[in-house]
Amino acid sequence: MRERRVDVLVVGGGPAGLSAAAELARAGASVEVVERERELGGVPRHCDHQGFGLRDLRRPLSGPGYARRLAARADTAGATLRAGVSVTGWESGALELTSSGGLERVTAAAVVLATGARERPRAARLIPGDRPDGVLTTGELQQVVALEDLRVGSRAVIVGAEHVSYSALATLRHGGARPVAMLTEAPRHGSYAGFAWGARVVLRVPLLTSTRLVEIVGRERVEAVEVATPSDRRRIPCDTVVLTAAWIPDHELARSRGVPLDQASLGPLVDTAGRTPVAGVFAAGNLVHPGETGDVAALGGRAVSRAVLVHLAGAPWPVPIPLVAGTGLAWAAPGLIDPTALPARGRVVLRGTARVARDAVVVRQGERLLWHGRPSGSLVPGRSASIPAGWIREVDPEGGPVRIGVGSPP
């Protein structure tokens, strides 16, 4: 068993991990990225559409092009990039790795968890019915079409109406399947008006709102789905069901190390700098904010590198202050505050519990009002809104939890 030591081990070679590694290597740290898939790049590897890299590289790229570019930047900066390496355990400070080269134990002064998120599959959504072939998440669908060149079905129902759901629609068409309906339990779609219009009007894929998938029917292969609205139930014949969104962070490694989870997002609890409560352990990207775009994850990776460098220089691990999400919010991230560090992109990210479009948000510490105003983006479940985070500098380290919620200041 090989025993090794590095300054920084980055677990996950997607946009967040590669971006963190590039920054850290550029600053002179010895950085190793371990990625369990055969290729680096994370989810963008298999997203066969454009629009990647707008916020971090300031140019529009395809998913695979973006993935390659981020890996090249990290490599040029001097990070060690290893694909086909899995972290299989974490015992007393050393991580256990498996690859075709054998087993290793690696200790690192800092570990950055950038393991991303996945869409919940059928079982996790407790969808009853038969268990035929033909039910898959967008992640699997994209790999089926873009990476493995396998057949998709011919008539597909898409569950969800988020950005990723419209991406699934494009992938289905690319794979030769006809989308016959999109379902959302919400009263309207949760994506851009342009996507929704294009799908409904141009591609003639009906959007069924306030509609829930209640049963999957089919012996060997999907034959139909049964859907329900508050007033009726009906069957839609199809042979493929794509389950989209419903993201859950890939937090198993964090949990096995004892990092507490943010109960709302189910990502590891982190402060505004990307530190978890466990000394030396950081987290960034979709692991922390599941369902974000690749470039947002990349910016998160860049941002966490600052705190990693501070830690490598020997600074003491700070005591975090909780950010508590209250009325009208499902969660606010990061869940902890370090008053000396602003979060990625200078914003605090919010998700609402119900569609409270463009409502005001209030931030308090004790009696002190820290900020109020309207978030950018709507507080729709499944989509992010955000507020500026400059007020974090005014947080009193001794002042107790900071509370954020929908409402107006008195």
Binding site: M1, R36, E37, G84, S86, T88, G89, E96, T98, S99, S100, G101, G102, L103, R118, E119, R120, P121, R122, A123, A124, L126, P128, G129, D130, R131, D133, L136, T137, G139, E140, Q143, V144, L147, E148, L150, V214, E215, R219, I248, E252, R255
Partner: protein, 461 residues
């Protein structure tokens, strides 16, 4: 071996390649008999044998003096030894039969006495405080329990596969995707008409599980009817494993063992089964109502469990009949043995049923010839507590494909998938590959690995 043009009768046809049929075929394979094992499904162990609670039962709660009681006790010993020899995963977790009200608590001593009458004497009472210490995650209403240390958990799929593999290696012909349509007597034996042609045999063994009643009917009998009893189950994430140490059993009722919570050898936690009689022997779907009822039970038994992610949900059908005991009938003049109505202990009793089946056949006039040992087999390690290839340095050094993890959630390597595709009883579909390797059985439901595994299956098949 028989082929389409070969009309000479074989010695024994076993109908049903579930855990019982494959065990019987394996037992017969010790002797120089021409044996055909036939099943309508595409794979061995694809009926009730693939969707059950995966428990190696002590038989503490069977009917004392019944055939089931005897064969479960004997089968427990045989399967425990077989698992140890072949590398099938078993975890000796033990069970607690929990009393949730004063009535159930008062019934515990009688259950211990019934266990003793069944030959199981290791039960011990557990009082409230000790119960809390043993299982701190138990719901509030748990008052006391009966400890049943011998109840273990086992890999439910590998036994059928192991039995079938040894049988085939010793010359048994395995015919899958072949349904028996009719049976007629001929020259002291039988001719079966199947969906693939005719099959003549001197002896016939009915191990057809959910179809055992119908097959018995094809021979002219009207002595038992199979009512499929559906049991829905929820499998929770491996992260829930630390919440429970033992199988948590409810007080039994006449309908069956009730809803339990159990660790699995794969590191998950199982909740179930329900028990609903259905008409259709292929009704293996889950229902909204069934899943909701399970979650209610789960919230009561182990409250922290139901907040964990769900990795899988499934439903299995047990072959319930009018009688609680097995419906085993031997008809010497017809050269026919019926192993019907095995209900819910087939896995545990399988090797004992096979032993018993051979005794009955010999008693009815079958001359098996000399007995010889079978070649030993060794199954790939699938249990969480076994040394699996992804962390076996020596294995990886010999063959790097064992270090290339393909299914990340279950840590299944390319080498293991390759081996399963090249095995003696290979998978023909994704489900079969799952049962042989654990690939695509994990929390991501194929998000990460589904496409690649499908590709490997297509290339290897």
């Amino acid at each position: 071996m028989t082929g389409p043009g070969d009309s000479s009768p074989v010695d024994v046809v076993v109908v049903g390649a579930g855990v019982v049929g494959t065990a019987v075929a394996r037992e017969l394979a010790h002797h120089p008999l021409r044996v055909v094992l036939v099943d309508a499904e595409r794979d061995v162990g694809a009926g009730t044998s693939k969707a059950n609670t995966a428990i190696l039962h002590t038989g503490y709660d069977t009917v004392p003096g019944s055939l089931e009681s005897r064969l479960v006790r004997r089968g427990y010993e045989l399967l425990s030894a077989y698992a140890a020899e072949t590398g099938i995963a078993v975890e000796p977790v033990g069970a607690l039969l929990v009393a949730w009200d004063p009535e159930q608590e008062a019934a515990l001593p009688a259950l211990a006495a019934k266990a003793a009458a069944n030959g199981y004497v290791e039960c011990a009472p557990v009082a409230g405080a000790e119960l809390r210490r043993l299982e701190p995650g138990l719901g509030e209403g748990a008052r006391a329990a009966l400890a049943i240390p011998g109840e273990h958990v086992i890999d439910p799929w590998s036994p059928s596969l192991a039995f079938a593999t040894q049988a085939v290696a010793a010359g048994v012909e395995l015919r899958l995707s072949e349904r028996v349509v009719s049976v007629s007597p001929e020259r002291g034996g039988h001719v079966l008409t199947t969906t693939r042609g005719r099959l003549a045999t001197r002896w016939l063994v009915n191990a057809a599980g959910l179809g055992s009643g119908a097959l018995d009917g094809l021979l002219g009998f009207d002595r038992f009817h199979v009512t499929p009893r559906r049991g829905e189950l929820i499998v929770f994430d491996k992260l829930a494993r630390e919440r429970v140490g033992r199988i948590l059993l409810p007080a039994p009722t006449s309908r069956g063992k009730g809803v339990l919570v159990s660790p699995t050898v794969f590191g998950n936690v199982l909740l179930g089964p329900t028990a609903d009689d259905v008409d259709d022997p292929r009704a293996t779907g889950t229902t909204a109502d069934g899943l909701a009822r399970l979650l209610d039970h789960g919230a009561r038994i182990l409250p922290g469990l139901v907040g964990e992610e769900v990795t899988a949900t499934y439903a299995g059908l047990r072959a319930a009949t009018e009688d609680a005991d097995y419906r085993v009938f031997v008809e010497p003049s017809l050269h026919y043995l019926c192993l019907g109505g095995i209900r819910s202990t087939g896995l545990t009793a399988s090797l004992a049923l096979a032993e018993h089946a051979l005794e009955l056949l010999v008693g009815a006039g079958l001359d098996p010839g000399p007995r010889r040992p079978l070649s030993a087999i060794s199954l790939p390690p699938l249990g969480e507590r076994q040394l699996r290839p992804y962390r076996d340095a020596a294995r990886i050094a010999e063959d790097p494909a064992y270090g290339e993890i393909v299914c990340h959630c279950e840590r299944v390597t390319r080498g293991e998938i390759r081996d399963a595709l090249a095995s003696r009883v290979p998978p023909v579909d994704l489900d079969g590959l799952r049962r042989r390797t654990r690939a695509v059985l994990g929390r991501c439901g194929g998000f990460f690995c589904g496409a690649r595994v499908r590709r490997l299956l297509e290339e290897g098949a």
